[in-house]
Amino acid sequence: MSLNIQQKNYACDVLVVGGGIGGLMAAIRAAEKGASVIVAEKADTRRSGSGATGNDHFLCYSPAYHGENMEPIVKEVITSLYGRWQDISLVRKFLARSFDVVNDWESYGINMRPKGGWLFQGHALPGRPVFHLKYDGREQKPLLTKKARSLGVTILNKLPICDLLQNPDGSVCGAVGLSIAHEHNTPELVPIAAKAVILTAGNASRLYPGVNPAYLFNVAHSPANTGSGQAMAFRAGAKLINLEIPYTHAGPKFFARCGKATWIGVLRDYKQKTVGPFITKPTRELGDITSDIWNSVFREKMNNGTGPSLMDCTKTAAEDLDYMRWGFACEGDSSLVDALDKTGIDLSKQMVEFTAYEPMFIGRGIEVDENGASCVPGLYAAGDLVGNFRADIAGAAVFGVFAAEHAAEYIKQNTLPNTGQSPSVAECAEELETFLARKTGAHWKEANSLLQQVMHDYAGLEVRSESLLSTGLEYLRKLEKRCRAELRAANAHELMRCLEVLDLIQLGQLLMHCALERKESRGLHKRADYTFTNPLLDDMFLTIQQNTSQSVKTAFRERT
């Protein structure tokens, strides 16, 4: 099979890579500021990204609800499960703007007050401020898409972006995508010229083995998100940050789903003893936050024989159980409700086992400043692929706005480049053509599977060390080399999957470089050769950047 190069010259002021929550909000705001905008989306913006079918918690600060002093909310956020790896300056800027975006969403038709008034629930400790707005996000993607289109944004669906295009001075001047639209019999490369690019391609799933490794797509966050934004930003010269600190989500064991805060129950062991110290009687106002606070609880209890940990909703009031089922639908977990019903699981009588899922990159990735700008001129990032800030749906939405506002000013100093003849497009085409031309070869799943095993064995949660990480790094280099020499794609869909795996292999190597450099144990980063936590590395974030095409440079910097 051959490869076409699209001859239509797409060009815009601002190109948004990924049409999830962050991407659509960036597109909306850039268009409102007068920029011409293209969104390149791997799937379809109406149902793509980790917020594809919904969400029900929007992290925000409301002066009317929380009071004029924002600092108690800042404190609560930065001491949360993922708050320790955020720059506090970005948290403050985000919170100050967050409720404006809530109001924007309501004006787009998203149901931010499904029960009438503003309701703050979930992810909260007893007696402490609650900062997640309960909302009904099941129509958020179609409504954001409608808003973007109404402002003249061009949405190119089924167009995953492969790589960024750069001017000789290093500034970004567009990107090249691969059309996977089925109406094309021949895969097609699509160059897009842009004065600025906002990366909003989401988290990196499928890097480590999931709950059932035979099923690569059984993951809580969107398995279409494979770190392509982080990988292409790195290749363009951007700094990535906090890669070595593992983050794991939690939920029902073999049906990986987000939405742990939607559950109104208590985690108990088999002997009915509560697992955590926070609550004994769950209510819709206060569920069990144990898995947010004690991230390793599920593994520890399985390893010491006191597991499993079970979500107990049997003592939850009947009306709260109904409320929970409604919450699942808002969160985008209607599939989970269907699965419970079809298999006859009655949560008023039965408990469901919970577990921690595999490590992933969320809030691990591109370093940005308070405008969402990376260190590469013209390159911005927002959402789950950012490494020094994270607030999930709300974070993506608000930083999408910040990035768009800064990009709309940045483009005024630039003229539109012509990328049609860019050597990078030709280089990209050459490699993809080799994958398509092979009559026999390796399937992308072989590579993804081995990558996951190497990550688990050599950069896992149980143990890390210089010898394991160094060896793992060598294995991943060899895997990458073999992939380039052996991968075969039968069509555009498989070609997309091949590129995803190559991005993941690159990120795996970068993670190992960073894990080698952090010579201490901290959080879920456990070094067998440095078992202590080094006070000198408190509040120190580790960055990694391309040095030459063959080497990287790492550096610690203070949290700001």
């Binding site: 793509s48 594809a52 089925h182 099923y215 002997k271 009915q272």
Partner: protein, 85 residues
Amino acid sequence: MPPVINPETCTVCGKCASICPMDILAVTNSGSGKSIAVLYPEECWHCNACVLDCPVQAVELRHPLSHMLLSVDTLAPAHDHEENI
């Protein structure tokens, strides 16, 4: 095959194939006419988008055994012999 399309009610409008986040569905044209094919069932995320957005409710999701929810019906009585652990 996670999404199961009911050929009796499906109008082959193609919306499910358009919006599938994993690109596993496609409109195909065979000798007997157009239909929706599940090309990559093992890449299904079980997100329910195809079920939610089908205008004629022709899609159902089958949850594979590999994704079984683990439920416990009977618990040990409280205050069991914890010292044995």
